[in-house]
Symmetry: C2
Subunit: 320 residues, 2 copies
């Protein structure tokens, strides 16, 4: 009963947990839990954000730590096309942390919630040596979009620009002080809540948010939908700083972007009839690019092509 997940140590853990829980679990391995209630579904997701794992204190101020944690969790609701109901936040800061630190993290969480029309409705406080934020989001949807609905023949589309978060992260980890759009891509991701709802209402058959990186998340979508995916890497819309960061690391910019996690854009399958006029309508309504980057076909797995040749690369996970 293991779900269709990609490879890597994080997914080995998830598979072991699913096996241990057996009948006591339901729907693990998706972005969101989807629980039928009345004539709709509750969508629920929880996202951990931990100092020195997901961020360093030197990079983000407390308000930004809160925003980033909440945005990542809200992105899971966006990926199913849900409307947010509320946000819960558990904070653990080092013993004797001043009250304003707790308030500033919650201020960032509150700002991210308010930006999508949700409220903070609960949480818990404790102490921990490393700053720890766990954000749980609850939403609702009559017709949630899952990872599993893609069909051969569909187009593979992505919102926004990719690789920007990795460019920002690379700058931080190499000791630079990124600014402007490069810093924002990592520090201030925007959950694509309205975009997710628009796409759910306009034919998205399967959708996932890009937290593990394009390559890893495309594999999840291919596995869950039991299709093959080909991504033409040159079509990837590159985020701010990606060209320069890739150059500095001697990496092709498109593979750099495809390996970058935490862009929190949406990756989705749309029927072949989805027109460029509809894409333009989306872009104008959302002020956000919508780019076709690949194709779904019968088969299994993910193929990435660059200049027509298949290439290989890995995903991103917190345990490597």
């Amino acid at each position: 009963v293991s779900p269709a997940l990609g490879n890597g140590p994080e997914f080995d853990r998830i598979r072991a947990i699913i096996e241990t829980l057996g009948e006591r679990a339901s729907g693990l391995g998706d972005d969101c839990a989807l629980v039928p209630l009345g004539n709709e579904y509750l969508a629920i997701s929880t996202d951990l954000s931990i100092e020195n794992v997901h961020f360093k204190r030197a990079w983000l101020d407390p308000q930004e730590i809160g925003w980033r944690a909440a945005a990542g969790a809200l992105s899971d609701l966006a990926a199913v096309g849900a409307e947010p109901i509320g946000v819960l936040a558990s904070l653990a800061l080092p013993v004797h942390s001043p009250v304003p630190d707790f308030a500033a993290v919650m201020d960032g969480i509150g700002a991210a919630a308010a930006a999508v029309g949700a409220k903070v409705i609960g949480g818990d406080l404790a102490s921990s040596p490393n700053w720890t934020v766990d954000v749980t989001v609850i939403g609702r949807s009559q017709h949630p979009v899952r990872r599993s609905g893609a069909q051969a023949g569909d187009g593979l589309w992505v919102t926004g620009y990719l690789g920007g978060a990795r460019a920002g992260l690379s700058a931080f980890t190499s000791g630079q002080s990124p600014a402007g759009a490069v810093r924002d891509s990592f520090v201030h991701p925007v959950p694509r809540m309205a975009a997710g709802r628009w796409l759910a209402q306009h034919g998205a058959r399967a959708m996932i948010d890009l937290s593990d990186g394009l390559a890893g998340d495309a594999r999840h979508l291919a596995a869950a939908s039991e299709v093959a995916i080909v991504i033409e890497m040159e079509r990837i819309p590159l985020g701010p700083g990606v060209q320069d960061s890739a150059l500095a690391m001697g990496e092709d910019p498109f593979t750099f972007a495809a390996r970058g996690g935490e862009d929190y854009e949406l990756l989705l399958a749309l029927a072949p009839g989805f027109s460029s006029d509809q894409a333009t309508e989306f872009e104008q309504a959302m002020n956000l690019p919508l780019t076709r980057i690949g194709t779904l076909s019968p088969g299994r797995g993910l193929t990435l092509t660059l200049a027509g040749r298949p290439i290989s690369l890995g995903g991103f996970n917190h345990f490597t």
Copy 2:
């Protein structure tokens, strides 16, 4: 707009957070978020459990860490009389923790969920120097019981036995190896889910679960309901090991029990008409004592009496 909360550094933090969030928050400071949805309410709560704050690894095995974390969260649903829908669990263990450790913690969470008829529906994994478990629980109720509905003239009642968790904890912290009922009181708390629903259906006007300790939680209930509470300490039903632990610490057993946190029993207000026959009916149906320990009257605040004389004691919180 600060809610009616007791004193202490944890509540100072909550008050600062509520002030910072302003309109971006709703209902903070209760056991559960209660969100109207259709003709009922969603009840949602999240509970952090962190190594060296809430437990030590030497005291609990991984399965017990999971059970205890989940039971504490589920207890918040019990306190509003909700029916559980699902459980989400975020786990962060030290880098390179073996897969079975993750699975064992989730096994304990799954056991606690299954014991109340709920499933594990989601979660997140990460790494952290201290074992960290954040459990979010979702339930539903058409008529949730809040902290705020108690009225002057009501009786104050409590389920089960108090002080046992503190007796177990005292044994652990003094280097002993508690066993049997004393160990179980701390290690294996039982969320009073069915009891909470029974009491909600039989006239509970206000209810809270005992996580901060009887004295602290009774203050919350008094403040939220805007009544005065008098607890006759001699009426407190004492948990296993409380007599001996209190004796060893030179403390009166009733004050020892009233100061002990994390018993996860229910404290509630019942109208004066609630009869001893009804209490017996509860006890037989639930196989659990239901004891009247005090009275609500016009006024404010909490008075504890022992042998007819007012006494003073503090609550329990994680930051002292």
